[in-house]
Amino acid sequence: MSPGLVGIAIIDILLFTFLVVTAIAILRLRNLFGVVMLAGVFSLLSAALFVTLDAVDVAFTEAAVGAGISTVLMLGTIALTFREEKKPSHSALLPILVCAVAGAALIYGTRDMPAFGAPDTPVQTHVAPDYIARTPVETGVPNIVTAVLASYRGYDTLGETAVIFTAAIAVLLLLGASGKRRESKDSEGKE
């Protein structure tokens, strides 16, 4: 292994260690505000892991949704409910067992997977060489991922954007309308 890869491997191991530590801390903590903050940290740690795996776009999404929006949404939920978690009434033995069995099955499944970055996997040999060869000629976009998203799957991306735009407008209309009504009611009361 080259020194760069060894360095990345060390960073990966440390990140995974912190991920496990954070998960255990989330389980142990009863203060829900602390849990929300720890969940944000968990998300940032996973985003850092995605970056070390070169999945930068996934890391973007994880950081924006996991650390940004979810934190705020969970805080909103805490404001409506309680700030302390109740003591669990049943034993945690069965859930731990289910998790252990599912995890063992997943790890067993990875034994069939090709080695990390192996060049002879179906991912690398199926359509990837075609895209690499044809993208500069057919689209003229310098980045192949961008070409796939915006050119080959252009209609798909357009549809996604339309859906998200509609959802955002609907949410803004609902939230904005209720806020304005309350404001006008307040000002009426003062008068």
Binding site: P3, G4, V6, G7, I8, I10, I11, L14, F18, V21, T22, A25, L29, F33, G34, M37, L38, G40, V41, L44, L45, A47, A48, V51, T52, V56, A59, F60, A63, A64, A67, G68, T71, V72, L75, G76, A79, L175, S178, G179, R182, E183, D186
Partner: protein
């Protein structure tokens, strides 16, 4: 290589301290500050990673993380000032 190891060690010691504060932190503001510091450390880690693997475009990602970190810290603090998200300005006076 030695440089990467030194940077990684320093950053991860800092992360460990932040996690301890996040878990033990008696007050709410300790935890908010810990999360903010954690985001800054992630930015530093990404920048160092991009520098060592000679991919300067990681700096752009690090900058986006810094922005998200700033916005979410503001959101959390604003939330605790006003106790709600939708009607922040309307209920601000009577908190």
């Amino acid at each position: 290589m030695a440089m990467l190891l030194a940077i990684t060690a320093a950053l991860f010691v800092a992360v460990l301290l932040v996690l301890i504060r996040l878990f033990a932190g008696p007050t709410l503001y300790d935890r908010v500050l810990a999360v903010n510091t954690f985001g800054t450390l992630t930015v530093l880690l990404l920048s160092a990673l991009g520098f060592v693997t000679e991919r300067p475009d990681f700096l752009d990602i690090a900058m986006l993380y810094a922005l998200i970190n700033f916005v979410s810290t503001i959101a959390i603090l604003k939330f605790f000032r006003y106790r709600a998200l939708g009607r922040a300005t309307a209920s601000g006076e009577d908190v």
